[in-house]
């Protein structure tokens, strides 16, 4: 009887369906990332297998399998132009997994398919680690476990029952999963993941022409999210410095790439805890494929796990690797209005920050030299320039096009522009007046998410402003946009623009209903928490967590604590069930009777489930008269325990059942074992 169960090693129709559904779920996220012809491979494999099942095709021969493998390998090599990157390897895995379907005939193959399915679930996280992906992965695991279970069932079971039981199984595994998540050593990936093609990232590029920031403001999407630890600045003071643009070619502003002196970053723990003159914050930056980071003035400590941070003299923050995926960094900024050297600017920097193309924008240059003729001080020139903007300038997202002398056109003809027009023209005037200055691009402001106490900075918050160097002060921020449109700085972009312009901002994100906004904030908060605590749980945060929980992060300590904790948990569970069972002897009695029934079945007497213990015992007694006495006695004891609540005989029952087959003589034992 036992053997016949194992004979059923061939798979049944139901198993095939379950495995196919589970496989489809597991490979779907991979298919989205892989070359499109792999869909065809999958569909062919499915049709092929179904035809085999219906008897129209037979299982493929070795030759056919070899040809199929050859075809897909060649296809993959061509698709990935002979490059073996992660994508190609996943493509290879995908093909192996899918083609396994056509030679799927035994239970063992089914197990292999299920296990490969779990592997596929894991590999989908190479592409995306969002919460949606995690939820999808969970659902896939649910179906995989159900398919796994279906392989072992030899009676039909309702789908809902199967899914429920696999849910319970996964639930049982959850504590272990959480434990592994927390304590497993975090290793850096063995391979570097290539930037995933197809999705153009929004954000600044390393140069800025008129209209660039305006375009950015119109795009939707989030630049980064910030969580402050302690004091938070006013949102009008949140100038998120990104690019420092100090080279002007007459049209666009660029970053001087060449050798800038590197400034020393401070280790974050050496900064006093209680000091009020610092902002501490954690930025979760969306990928923008560039090297720079955003920070408040003046950053003194920035830590990115797994990357090197470089801070140059201009307070231009860069990482070694481009931000191809979400980057999280902890930063500390010193609160100050100005930064950099106060008394003296070195030759090179001075030259760089005064450079303008002589031949361009003659009108502006003339205007500035008129101011210089009045022998105005630098600070007076700044005020004069700002007051120029207050006259008849207009802040708009859709400025008219500018000609070759772009700054002349803007200042004297069109007088309509966006922040980069103001910043760019202002810096040009300052440089013409001999005041070292530069354009800074980044984001201004940020909206607080009330659900999870963090700020969200969108692409629509993109901004450009100026920095001028004044003797005795250092580099100081001047925002010419504030002169023409103070609302932009005070209240954010929404207040500064006209109705029609506002429609353009963030792809129309400002025209939504309140409930939509609240819902969006909630969804954003959930995603933020997920990214902050799950996706970006790296070696650094692991160390922090382990130190907090276990008082240290050394491997021996973790191993010891985990071992001790599991032993303690096991002991506690054992004691719990032991005590529970002592209080409730009935489950013990039933387990003992089960044992007796199994032993009797080994003697060839099978109980049907409708048979009571005493009638079964009578039957045993009739078939094996030499066992009659003990059998009838133990049945009576069981009845007294189970149906009278009289548990005094529990130990006797245990002894009787423990000894049960020994009562028989040797002849019967030998005979029955031969029968089996």
């Amino acid at each position: 009887m036992q053997a016949s169960l194992h004979d059923k090693k061939w798979i049944r129709h139901e198993n095939l369906v379950w495995i196919m559904i589970a496989q489809a779920l597991a490979i779907f996220p991979l298919l989205l990332q892989l070359p499109i012809w792999l869909w065809a491979v999958w569909l062919i494999a499915i049709v092929w297998r179904v035809q085999i099942h219906r008897g129209h095709l037979s299982f493929p021969s070795t030759l056919v399998k070899a040809i199929a493998a050859g075809v897909v390998v060649t296809g993959l090599l061509l698709s990935f132009s002979l490059q073996f990157n992660v994508h190609a390897l996943i493509g290879m895995f995908f093909c192996a997994y899918v083609l396994k379907l056509i030679e799927f005939r035994t239970k063992r193959d089914g197990l292999l398919l299920v296990f490969l399915g779990f592997f596929a679930v894991a590999s989908q996280f190479l592409f995306t680690q969002s919460m949606v992906a995690a939820f999808y992965g969970f659902i896939t695991c649910l179906v995989l476990v159900a398919a796994w279970k279906a392989l072992y069932l030899d009676r039909p079971e309702k789908t809902s029952v199967k899914l429920r039981s696999s849910f319970v199984l996964l639930l049982h595994a959850t504590p272990l999963m959480i434990l592994f998540f927390i304590v497993m050593p975090r290793v850096e990936p063995l391979w570097s993941l290539p930037a995933l093609g197809g999705s153009a990232k929004t954000g600044f590029s390393d140069e800025m022409s008129p209209g660039d920031v305006g375009r950015l403001v119109k795009s939707s999407g989030t630049a980064f999210r910030v969580e402050f630890d302690g004091a938070e600045p006013e949102s009008s003071a949140m100038y998120w410095r990104g690019l420092v643009l100090d080279y002007f070619d007459g049209r666009s502003w660029k970053v001087y790439p060449r050798g800038q002196k590197v400034q020393q970053l401070t280790a974050s723990d050496s900064i006093g805890e209680s000091s009020n003159s610092y902002y501490r914050y954690t930025v979760t930056m969306e990928p923008h494929d560039q090297h720079w980071l955003f920070s408040l003035v003046a950053p003194i400590s920035v830590v990115v796990v797994g990357d090197e941070v470089r801070l140059d003299q201009r307070l231009f923050l860069t990482t070694k690797n481009p931000a191809t995926k979400q980057v999280q960094y902890r930063a500390v900024s010193q609160l100050s209005d100005s930064h950099g050297p106060q008394s003296f600017l070195d030759e090179k920097t001075l030259a760089e920050n005064l450079l303008i193309p002589e031949s361009l924008n003659p009108k502006t240059q003339k205007q500035v030299s008129a101011w210089l003729d009045e022998a105005l001080q630098p600070s007076q020139i700044i005020l004069r320039a700002l007051s120029l903007y207050q006259e008849s300038f207009y802040y708009t997202l859709e400025p008219p096009l500018l000609g070759r002398h772009s700054i002349d056109d803007f200042l004297f003809t069109t007088q309509q522009g966006f922040c980069e027009h103001f910043a760019s023209s202002f810096v040009f005037m300052m440089r013409a007046a001999g005041i070292p200055s530069r354009v800074v691009a980044g984001y201004l402001g940020g909206k607080k998410n009330p659900v999870q106490d963090y700020f969200i900075v969108n692409q629509s918050d993109a901004h450009a402003w100026a920095e001028v160097w004044l003797e005795g002060v250092g580099w100081q921020r001047v925002d010419p946009t504030a002169a023409v449109s103070p609302e932009r700085v005070e209240n954010g972009i929404a207040d500064a623009l006209s109705e029609s312009d506002l429609q353009l901002v963030g792809s129309g994100a400002y025209g939504e209903f309140p409930w939509m906004k609240s819902l969006r904030q909630r969804v954003d908060a959930v995603g933020y928490v997920w990214n902050r605590w799950v996706v970006s749980y790296d070696r650094q945060s692991q160390k922090g967590v382990l130190e907090k929980i276990f008082g240290g992060a050394e491997p021996w300590r973790i191993a010891m604590i985990v071992v001790i904790a599991s032993l303690a948990l096991g002991l506690a569970l054992f004691l719990y069930f032991y005590l529970i069972n002592r209080k409730r002897p009935l489950p013990i009695a039933i387990r003992l009777i089960d044992k007796f029934i199994r032993k009797a079945e080994n003697l060839g007497i099978k109980r049907s489930q409708g048979e009571t213990v005493s009638s079964f015992a009578r039957r045993v007694a009739v078939e094996r008269p030499e066992l009659a006495q003990s059998t009838l006695a133990l049945a009576a004891m069981f009845d007294r325990i189970a149906y009278r609540g009289d548990v005094s005989d529990l130990d006797k029952l245990r002894n009787l059942i423990g000894d049960f087959p020994k009562m028989t003589n040797k002849y019967f034992l030998i005979k029955s074992s031969v029968n089996r």
């Binding site: 039933i590 089960d594 489930q609 409708g610 009845d639 189970a642 149906y643």
Partner: protein, 313 residues
Amino acid sequence: MDLVINRIIDQVGQVLLGKEHQVKLSIACLLARGHLLIEDLPGMGKTTLAHCLAATLGLDYDRVQFTSDLLPADILGVSIFDRNSSVFQFHPGPVFTQVLLADEINRSTPKTQSALLEAMEEGQVTIEGETRELPTPFFVIATQNPATQSGTFPLPESQLDRFLMRVSLGYPSESSEMALFKGVDSRAIIKTIKPVVSLPVLSRLQDAVNDVRATDQLLSYLQRLVSATRMGDKFIHGLSPRGALAWLRAAKAWALIHQRDYVVPDDIQAVMPAVVGHRIRSVERGNVMHDSAGQDSMFDYLLKTVDVLGATA
């Protein structure tokens, strides 16, 4: 106490040869304060059983032969004007007794049937606006011919429910029949029967049924059996809670007869055909199961689907 029960069984068994199970069931039914319906062909010993039980228990005994022209007053009694005292004098009918044998109950019209059934349920009768208590114990043994016989008014299910048990006696076995041939006329034996219990003892026995223990484990088994009758597509409708309670009471009485103060699953199974058979309808027959073949397969099905050692409560 146990001795008393054994003596009752022995004595009735001497008269009704080879029908020990049915005798025990009828005694259990009586101890559980329920009424008994015996369904069988004429001449199978129904009347003998009723008569013998009454005599053994030392109870008053009366018999009504139901016919199609029997009226309620013929059972319950009538008030007749007494010329001497110029008042209506109530003349109690045969229902005012301790053991009433209602012979061939399905031969009378529903009106008369229900008059009796009301008395069975309430333990009292209301005649001309006056409620009269029936004697205690009040035990009805009704017999009926199988409904397939002509000239019968089958009892509706709601009235069948009033009977705790329905048993059929069946033909005697070979040896019993031989003994029957050789023996003395059973009517003569009944006349010589002496009561083995007194009324107080009987009522103590009936009280003892309530004290029989049923553990959660047992109740869970009963409950699973009951819900098995309600689920699935084998039955048109399942057992009512009243039916389930009746089942438990019968099992307790059965346990008492077997000298146990606790119910075991075997008791539940033993009384099942008698208690459940007339209370549920199987789909296959489309009617309350009348023939024993259909019943047996139904009970087999029920017992096989429910695990005796199933989940504990």
